[in-house]
Symmetry: C2
Subunit: 359 residues, 2 copies
């Protein structure tokens, strides 16, 4: 039973990547391991557009999203909330025992730079969290405008989640001035889940050094100490680092710019297919994500039944809406290795059965 | 460049396990995923000898070792320290902002039940950490005797690390009364690193509910809430759960008792080989680990050179001593899928070159 995944992560993984994962492992304190890390690192930094160190965390992205809170929040964090995952980050901040406020926007709206500026001008905050691409609603905030605001506040550390946008479009960490940029492997990188990445500025490392109770597993300074030797603090998920190396080969063979263009083209293809049926985008079009489309279910599709049949008959899966939007929206991912042909195949398969499932 | 690993983790992984890891992934909120978890869980619980829930954590073992501290320590933790990893657990406890004391024993000595009893009788502690098998020194403490002491202290939560002993000998969680039993996948389970397991008692869950600042990623109550639906709080490392299922098949096909006997036999084989050369065990023999032998380098082996040559000529690797014991000790693992034949091959290869490397 194997299905092609068009859900917004984890997504379809190539046979080549699976094969790379079966590379025989070695000890994580060996020269073989440091050579593997050193093989990945320059190209990984290039995808982050950074000269800062990039750390490898054996965890899902939530691990380092929590870790970032524990490392940099001394005073009070402002969590920008415009969807399920960003709302949850606010909850996680409080669970870490930190003082936190939510800057809330309606689901489907982006984070608003003016509102951010106003909130920060209170002087109450020493850290901000932003999710660049809110996967739950397919909403992509304008990170350039938001970072323009953040660069005015010298004492505020910016933590930006690029989990579901990284490597699908350029997010230029150093140029934008992002302090802590977090991502995962199971979205546009098309690696099975279990490895996450964070690039950390010197400012954020300095803050970390002054922050109590940050623990060990996600401690920035431990990551840094080990990365200076091309190592990780604890035993890492080595098969996924092999997968990363293989995927970096793929990405740079294709060309980064070509990869970005392919994501845009695939995204547009799906959006136009939907528009032709009168299906509306859930977020405002300008803020629609490049890696997935979240559509309103405004034509009365019986989503659970359609999804069952698509899976049974065509072995393909997309998503029937996240959290409180379940049934009211559906999401089609175009991340990773997809092409206009594979996206077209999905859409043709949906077309073949859709009329049966309009209520 | 592929080497057979006889280091104390990560260890050699079978082709069958690598193949299982390449099973096409599915969404972690799908019925396919819950079916996978439900397929593993009864057998995993059997290996823990527990009726308590067992949680799957996408992290190395250090993640949940830190997590356990954050979940159950309200008052003060007593960290039993008799080697590099247990010493580090004391350090990690303090880094979590917890009050902590070390109960220290010489490296190579086991944790002493009488000393533990005396320390606990102070009434200062609400949690204790013990590493059953100190991998750094190859020392296995008497967990039955230690748990006999701990069972007297109703308010003290016991956290036992069985990372490098689990599944190589019976550690009967419920019968012993261990509250939080922690292990990893990359030792005797012979799975590549990146997945860890913890079985948690109701008492420990109750304590967790009263503990502030435990966060999200390693929160026992989040693990519990999700495991009630056979899920995990965050996107899990699915390929390693496929590997787990495959490995459980192997283990129960072999028979648990046969597996234990095989580990004992392999361990004895290596120990007797060393004794015949006048090489001494680092810990007192009675407390020598069943999963690895840590030997004194008392016959003057040039370990770095021997290890290089063994790797170059025979594509095999063992360990040249951990931390402050580097060069003074060496460690040969017999965990996982090894047989008297494969262990014999390693020893014959060492014998073939050893005379060249005695100083």
């Amino acid at each position: 039973m194997s299905y092609k995944l068009f859900i917004p992560g984890p997504i379809a993984v190539s046979d080549k990547t699976y094969k790379a994962m079966a590379t025989p492992i070695f000890g994580h304190r060996s020269k073989d391991f440091t050579a593997l890390v050193e093989d990945c690192m320059p190209r990984l930094k290039q995808l982050f557009y950074t000269k800062d160190p990039v750390y490898l965390s054996t965890s899902s992205s939530w691990g380092i999203m929590e870790g970032a809170i524990r490392n940099v929040v001394n005073k009070r964090v402002l969590n920008c909330c415009n969807g399920s995952f960003s709302d949850k980050w606010f909850d996680v901040s409080k669970r870490c025992g930190k003082e936190a406020d939510a800057l809330t926007f309606e689901w489907g709206k982006p984070v608003d730079p003016e509102a951010l500026d106003k909130a920060l001008s209170s002087g109450k905050y020493d850290a901000v969290t932003i999710i660049h691409n809110e996967t739950s609603t397919g909403t992509m905030s304008d990170i350039s405008a938001l970072m323009e605001v953040l660069r005015k506040y010298e004492d505020v550390i910016s933590i930006v989640d690029t989990v579901s946008s990284f490597s699908a479009l350029p997010i230029k960490k150093d140029e934008l001035g992002i302090d802590v940029m977090v991502t995962g492997c199971q979205k546009a990188l098309a690696i099975p889940p279990g490895l996450s990445f964070l690039a950390v500025s010197q400012r954020a490392l300095d803050r970390s050094a002054k922050t109590e109770g940050r623990g060990y597993y996600f401690d920035f300074l431990e990551f840094q100490k080990n990365m200076e030797k091309s190592m990780t603090p604890s035993t890492p998920v080595i098969p996924l680092i092999f997968a990363l190396r293989s995927k970096l080969d793929d990405i740079f063979e294709e060309g980064i710019e070509n990869r970005y263009a392919r994501h845009r083209a695939n995204n547009k293809l799906v959006r136009e297919w939907a528009y032709a049926k009168g299906i509306e985008l859930f977020p405002e079009e300008k803020y629609g994500s490049v890696t997935l489309n979240c559509f309103k279910n405004n034509i009365g599709i019986d989503l659970p039944k359609l999804l069952d049949e698509l899976k049974r008959r065509f072995k393909m899966v997309f998503d029937g809406g996240y959290g409180k939007l379940k049934g009211q929206t559906f999401r089609i991912s175009n991340m990773g290795d997809e092409t206009p042909e594979t996206m077209g195949e999905l859409l043709a398969n949906i077309d073949a059965i859709l009329p049966e499932f309009i209520k």
